[in-house]
C-alpha cells in the first residue's frame, strides 16, 4: 500500500505536520511507501504516483488531500493508467474536514489527520476491485422553465440535434425578460432580441413545447430518467385557436393582470401579450364564470364560445399526464422579484405613486398598461421629479443579505430611459448603497447616465411619506457630501431584488437537490462546475442559482446545454458500482430488503424447492445501503461500503489498524 500526503500548497501543511503524519503511518503493516508532495493533483505528481505504484508493486493507494468531491475522477484515472483497479483508491479528507477547520490547534489537527489516515489505510486494506456499470442512455432532454435561460438552452440543444421537451408552467414562454422594455447597457429593445428566439422554439422540429405544464414526478437516474409532466387544461384547443383575441373582447370577467404586475386588468380567457408563444388563448379556471358556476344543463356565460369562429374552446379538457423518457434534465426555473410590501416604511402598497422597478418596467414598455407613458399613478400626469431607492430587500440582513446584482444597472437603465425617451427635464435622484456596475460596458454606462444630469445620493432613506398634495417626501443623508437632503418627488421607484421562487423549492424536493442558505439551488461546485448539480444528469442554468442578469443567464444556459450535449453524446453512462450485492448462501428469503428499498430494486428469485433469494437490479439500485443495514443475516451488502470496510475504518481511526 502507498500513502500520498498532500501539502496542498500550504493549505494542509501549514496546519498539519505532514512529516509527523508520515512517521506515524509508515510503520503500519502493509504500508510500503509514504510520500509528501506539494500538489498530488498536478500532472507531474500524478506521474510520480504511477511510478510508485509500479516500483513498489502497490495494490492499494491512499491519498490524503482535499475532499473527495474534488479530483476523484482524476485520481481514479491515475490508478487505472498504472494498471490498478480504480476502486482500490481511498481518499482521506485532510483539508475541508481537518486543516481548514482547526487552524488554531495544529497539534490536535495533526493528531486528527493521523487518525483519519489510519482509518483510510484500514479501509483501503479491505477494498476490492470493482467494475463500473455501463448503461445505454436516452438522448432526450427535459428543460424546465421557459424564461430566457430555458429558451436559449433548448435552442442550443435542438440545433445540436437533441430532442427537447421544454416545460413551462405559464401559458407562454418568455419569462421575466419578455416583460422588459429595454436591456442594459445597450438599451436595445428586449422583445426585439427575445421574441424571434421564442418563435424559433415554437417552430423547431426538435423541440416539443409544453406550456401551461409542470414537472410532476421524476424517477430513474442519469441517462434514463422517466419524467411525468402535468399538462393543465387551458380549455382551448391549441390546434384550432388562431390567437385572434375575439374572446377577450367579450369575456365579462376582469382580474388583475399579472403580466402588467397587476397595474391593469385582464379577462378570464386571455393571451398574456401579443407576442406570446404559443399565441393561444387560455381560460383561467379560477375566475371563468362558465367553469365556476355552470351546473349540468344550466351553463353560465359562455360568451367566448359564441364569438370564437375557430370553435377552439373545449370545456371538456382535463388535466393530462405526459410521460417522457430523457437522459438529462436541465433546470432553468428562474426566480421571483422581492415583494416590496415587506418594507412598509418605503410606502409601497400604501401610496399609489410608490412603485417597484418591475412596475416601472411595464409602464415604460409600449405594450404595457399605460402604452409606454410614465405617469404618476395619483395624478395621471408625467412626473417632474422621480426618485429611485436602491437595494430594496437586498444587502439587508433583515430581508436578503445578498446583492441582487441587477438593481444598480436596472435603475441606470430606467434613469436613462426617462431622460432620453420621456423628457430630459425630469429631475432624477438615485439613492444608493454602492453603485455596482461590474459587467462589460456597465461602468461606461454609469458615467453616461451621470453625464445626463441624474443626481446620485449615497445613502438610503429610512421612510417615505406622502404629503397632503400627494407628492412624496423623504430625508436622506448623503455620505459623500455629509449632507442631509430632503427629496420631494412625484414618483418613487423601488429597485427590488430577486428572491427564490416557490418553483425552486418544488424542483429541489422533487429531484432531491440541495439549496443554499439563500434558498437558491446549489451548483455542484461554484467555480468549476457552475451549471451542474451534485446529482448526475441534472443540470442548472439561470437565476434559479442566484440573482443574475440576462447576459449571465444566457451564458449559463449555453454552458449547461453544452454540458448536457457532452454528457449525452457519450451514448452510455458509466455508473459507480456502489450497488447492493447478495450472498445467496446467507439469504434466508425474509424480504426485509425488498420492503426497505426505496427504488424497488430488489426482487425475490425462486431457487427451487420453495427457496427464494433476493436479487438486485443494478440499474435501479442507487447504493444507499438501507438493505444492507436491515438484513438480519448480513447476506446483503453495498459494494465499496461493506460492513467490513466501514468497521475497519472506524477501528483504524480509533485504535490504529
Amino acid at each position: 500500500m502507498g500513502v500520498f500526503l498532500c501539502k496542498c500548497g500550504g493549505n494542509i501543511s501549514d496546519f498539519v505536520d505532514l512529516e509527523a503524519v508520515k512517521r506515524a503511518v509508515e510503520k503500519i503493516d502493509g504500508v510500503v511507501a509514504v510520500e509528501v508532495d506539494e500538489h498530488w493533483c498536478s500532472s507531474p505528481a500524478g506521474k510520480r504516483i504511477k511510478e510508485v505504484i509500479k516500483e513498489k508493486n502497490l495494490n492499494r493507494v491512499v491519498i490524503a488531500a482535499c475532499t473527495l468531491n474534488m479530483h476523484q475522477p482524476h485520481f481514479m484515472e491515475v490508478l487505472q493508467e498504472a494498471g490498478l483497479n480504480p476502486y482500490l483508491l481511498e481518499r482521506v479528507n485532510a483539508r475541508e474536514q481537518c486543516s481548514w477547520v482547526h487552524k488554531d490547534s495544529p497539534k490536535e489537527a495533526t493528531e486528527k489527520a493521523i487518525d483519519l489516515v489510519r482509518g483510510g489505510i484500514a479501509r483501503a486494506k479491505r477494498l476490492t476491485e470493482l467494475s463500473p456499470i455501463v448503461e445505454k442512455i436516452n438522448k432526450n432532454v427535459v428543460v424546465v422553465g421557459g424564461g430566457v435561460a430555458g429558451i436559449i438552452a433548448s435552442l442550443e440543444l435542438a440545433y445540436g440535434g437533441y430532442r427537447v421537451f421544454l416545460v413551462e408552467k405559464s401559458p407562454t414562454i418568455g419569462g421575466r425578460m419578455a416583460k422588459f422594455s429595454k436591456v442594459f447597457p445597450s438599451l436595445d429593445c428586449a422583445s426585439c432580441i427575445l421574441t424571434p428566439r421564442m418563435a424559433e422554439v415554437e417552430s423547431h422540429k426538435n423541440i416539443t413545447l409544453l406550456t401551461y405544464s409542470e414537472l410532476q414526478e421524476v424517477s430513474g437516474s442519469a441517462g434514463n430518467f422517466k419524467v411525468k409532466i402535468l399538462k393543465k387544461p387551458r380549455y382551448v384547443d391549441p390546434a384550432l385557436c388562431t390567437g385572434c383575441r375575439d374572446c377577450t373582447t367579450v369575456c365579462p370577467v376582469k382580474v388583475p393582470n399579472e403580466w402588467n404586475m397587476g397595474m391593469d386588468k385582464r379577462t378570464a380567457i386571455y393571451i398574456p401579450f401579443p407576442e406570446a408563444v404559443p399565441r393561444v388563448a387560455t381560460v383561467d379556471e379560477e375566475h371563468c364564470l362558465y367553469l365556476k358556476h355552470s351546473k349540468p344543463g344550466k351553463p353560465v356565460c359562455g360568451k367566448c364560445v359564441e364569438v370564437c369562429k375557430a370553435k377552439a374552446i373545449n370545456w371538456n379538457q382535463k388535466p393530462e399526464v405526459l410521460e417522457v423518457e430523457a437522459g438529462a434534465i436541465l433546470l432553468a426555473v428562474g426566480s421571483e422579484v422581492f415583494d416590496a410590501r415587506r418594507v412598509p416604511q418605503l410606502g409601497y402598497g400604501l401610496y399609489k405613486n410608490v412603485i417597484t422597478s418591475m412596475e416601472f418596467e411595464r409602464m415604460i414598455n409600449s405594450d404595457g398598461p399605460t402604452g409606454g407613458k410614465v405617469v404618476n399613478p395619483v395624478t395621471g400626469e408625467t412626473p417632474k421629479v422621480v426618485a429611485f431607492i436602491q437595494c430594496v430587500g437586498s444587502r439587508d440582513e433583515k430581508y436578503n443579505p445578498y446583492c441582487c446584482r441587477i438593481g444598480c444597472t436596472a435603475t441606470l437603465k430606467h434613469a436613462a430611459l426617462l431622460k432620453e425617451y420621456v423628457s430630459k427635464d425630469i429631475d432624477i435622484y438615485v439613492c444608493y448603497n454602492d453603485m455596482r456596475t461590474v459587467g462589460k460596458g456597465f461602468e461606461e454606462f454609469y458615467r453616461r447616465v451621470r453625464d445626463m444630469g441624474v443626481k446620485f445620493i449615497r445613502g438610503l432613506p429610512s421612510e417615505v411619506k406622502q404629503k397632503p398634495d400627494g407628492t412624496l417626501s423623504f430625508n436622506v443623508f448623503d455620505t459623500t457630501t455629509e449632507t442631509l437632503y430632503e427629496v420631494n418627488a412625484d414618483l418613487v421607484v423601488l429597485a427590488i431584488g430577486l428572491v427564490p421562487s416557490p418553483d425552486i423549492e418544488k424542483v429541489a424536493k422533487l429531484l432531491k437537490l440541495s439549496r443554499g442558505h439563500d434558498g437558491f439551488l446549489l451548483e455542484a461546485h461554484e467555480k468549476l462546475r457552475p451549471v451542474e448539480t451534485l446529482t448526475d444528469g441534472i443540470f442548472v442554468a439561470g437565476s434559479c442559482l442566484g440573482p443574475m442578469d440576462i447576459h449571465d443567464a444566457t451564458s449559463e444556459a449555453m454552458g449547461a446545454a453544452s454540458k448536457v450535449m457532452g454528457f449525452l453524446s457519450a451514448g452510455e453512462i458509466v455508473k459507480e458500482p456502489i450497488v447492493a450485492k447478495v450472498n445467496e448462501d446467507l439469504c434466508s428469503g425474509c424480504r426485509v430488503c425488498v420492503s426497505v428499498c426505496p427504488f424497488d430494486a430488489i426482487k425475490m428469485e425462486e431457487k427451487g424447492e420453495g427457496k427464494f433469494v433476493a436479487k438486485v437490479d443494478e440499474v435501479s439500485c442507487k447504493g444507499c445501503g438501507l438493505c444492507a443495514s436491515s438484513c438480519p443475516t448480513a447476506a446483503i451488502t453495498t459494494q465499496h461500503f461493506t460492513d467490513e470496510q466501514i468497521r475497519a475504518q472506524v477501528r483504524g481511526i480509533l485504535v490504529g489498524t
Binding site: 475532499t67 468531491n69 483539508r95 477547520v101 489537527a109 440541495s514 444507499c624 445501503g625
Partner: protein
Amino acid sequence: MSEFQPKIVAFCCNWCSYAGADQAGLRRLQYPPTARIVRIMCSGRLDPVFVLEAFRYGADGVLVAGCHTPTDCHYTSGNFKAERRVLLLRKLLEQLGLEPERLRLEWISASEGEKFARVIEEMTQKLKELGPSPLKSA
C-alpha cells in the same frame, strides 16, 4: 494533566452532511478537532454495529448526520430509518451503562457548514461534561 479531549466518530451521509462538513471547511469555520468523519452513502446505511463498535474501540461520542427530514434524503427515506435506529440504539446504550447523550443524530444539509461546526462544538462541550466513555477504562 491536559484537559480531556473527547473523540467523536461522525457518520456522515455522502450527499448532505459530508458536503456540509466540507462547507464548514470552505468557509474556514473553526470547531474543536474532536470529530473524525466516516463517510457512508446514506445515514440509513448505518448498521447499529458500527456505533457499538465505535464505542467499543474507545469513541467518547458518536454523531450520525444525514439529510433533513422529511424530504431531503437523496434516497427518499433513509434518514427516517436512521432516526429509528438511533432512538433504539440510545436505549441499548443506556442498558450498557453509557449515557444516551453520547449518541447524537443531526440533520445537516450540504449548505449548513455552520450547523456542522456548531454540532461538533456542542457535542464536544457535552462530552467534556460527561467525561471519558466508561467503556474506555473497562
